[in-house]
Amino acid sequence: MIRRGLTFATLLLAFGVVHAGVLPDDRADVLYHLYDGGGVTIDGPSVLVRKKAGKSLSFVGNYYVDMVSSASIDVITTASPYTEERKQWSLGMDYLHGNTTMRVNYTSSVESDFDGETVSFSVSQDMFGDLTTLTLSYALGDDLVRMSTDTTFEEPLDRQIYGVGITQILTKNLISSLNVETVTEEGYLNNPYRSVRYFDAATGGYDFERELYPNTRTSNAVGLRMRYFLPYRAAVEGEYRFFTDTWDIEGHTVSLSYIHPWKDFTFTGKLRYHDQTGAHFYRDLFPGPQATNFRGRDKELSPLTSYTFKLQAAYEFLNDDGNDTFGFIKRAKVTASLNMLSVDYHDFSDLTAQEVIGNEPLYQLDANIFQFYFSFFY
């Protein structure tokens, strides 16, 4: 089960960072993505097409596939490796009226043991001579969690997402974006396949039992981005996000990017740092069976620190400079990017080390995330 939050990232396609008084450019993107790390390989395509209809409407569609082959640390310690596929599609519409843009988007995600649907709405308003764009957004998600090993198992999960965003031009060289987002979830939030580890007093070793999460979670996130045009033609961007939720996870994320164009190329380098505390019901090793009301050993809920280094190169191989030389296509580029992700888990033991209980080394994940895509503007 890839599951949960099918539309979270996809909502970026629906809302993104916007200017209310202008419809987004007509474009088509064809992307191949590959994630390889920790015994997990996920790859697949993502295709996006956006097209205006008249001066007030713009339609967007996206089709995305994850093909998963997993022998992750979770899987090899408590279950069997598996392969799976998730397909997601979304349709959206933007309506521009004066300085106001209204958006609606529908997303559906289907996999063998999980279905999800999300409807989202947003309104953006340009203000103060178009220096400020205010966006209010709302999304409603309705998921269904199932189990491939138990056909009678079926649990709902509902989600509401409230967002407020301001994009602000501060100087003729500096633009900023502030986003605040609240997510409330209610329903089956744990993974039906995952287990927690507990100390077995009878054997002096450990055993596993099914995890049990609270059935509600509310989170708040505040993110600030600033991008600055340097004295020569290049840009730097800084970003900070603070995250907190009712599971006692508190996270800080900081990143710094440098964007440098050269002839028809644009090079981007980015460093990203994330640090978080663990959920209050998370334990690497519980003292016994059913030791607490709620139990989890999802390594993503453990205290952790992650580091990411990104390198990206884009090459604009077609530009008609307004002369209509290439038919309806005005501009086209090809982009390759590599993100190298490293995660240090501060309370998640590597059980494959086969050490004595309590002496297992902490798990560490390294993953390479590769993207290759063509973008056409018309």
């Binding site: 990232a9 209010l136 974006s177 509600t216 603070f242 993953a367």
Partner: protein, 80 residues
């Protein structure tokens, strides 16, 4: 829980009031339209690659416990 939910809500009223007043305010744009050539450069686009950004955000949400606040009205993913 009520306290955390209200964070976004507390911001809404003043922002809506600001939006309502913007039409009749006398605030002069301090960056004139003819001074925005650098801001219009593609390297200054906050999200020039929406498909790629959505994908990488999805990966981070799957690998970390945090979500949202990065320009989209969205949060996490519990991928194994």
């Amino acid at each position: 829980m009520k306290k955390t939910v209200s964070l976004t809500g507390r911001l809404l009223l003043p922002l809506l009031a600001m939006a309502a007043l913007s039409g009749c305010s006398g605030i002069e744009p301090w960056v004139k339209p003819y001074e925005r050539d650098k801001l219009a450069d593609p390297i200054m686009a906050l999200d020039g690659d929406p498909v790629s950004t959505a994908y990488i955000q999805h990966v981070f949400e799957a690998r970390e416990g945090a979500r949202g606040g990065e320009g989209a009205a969205g949060g996490g993913c519990g991928c194994n």
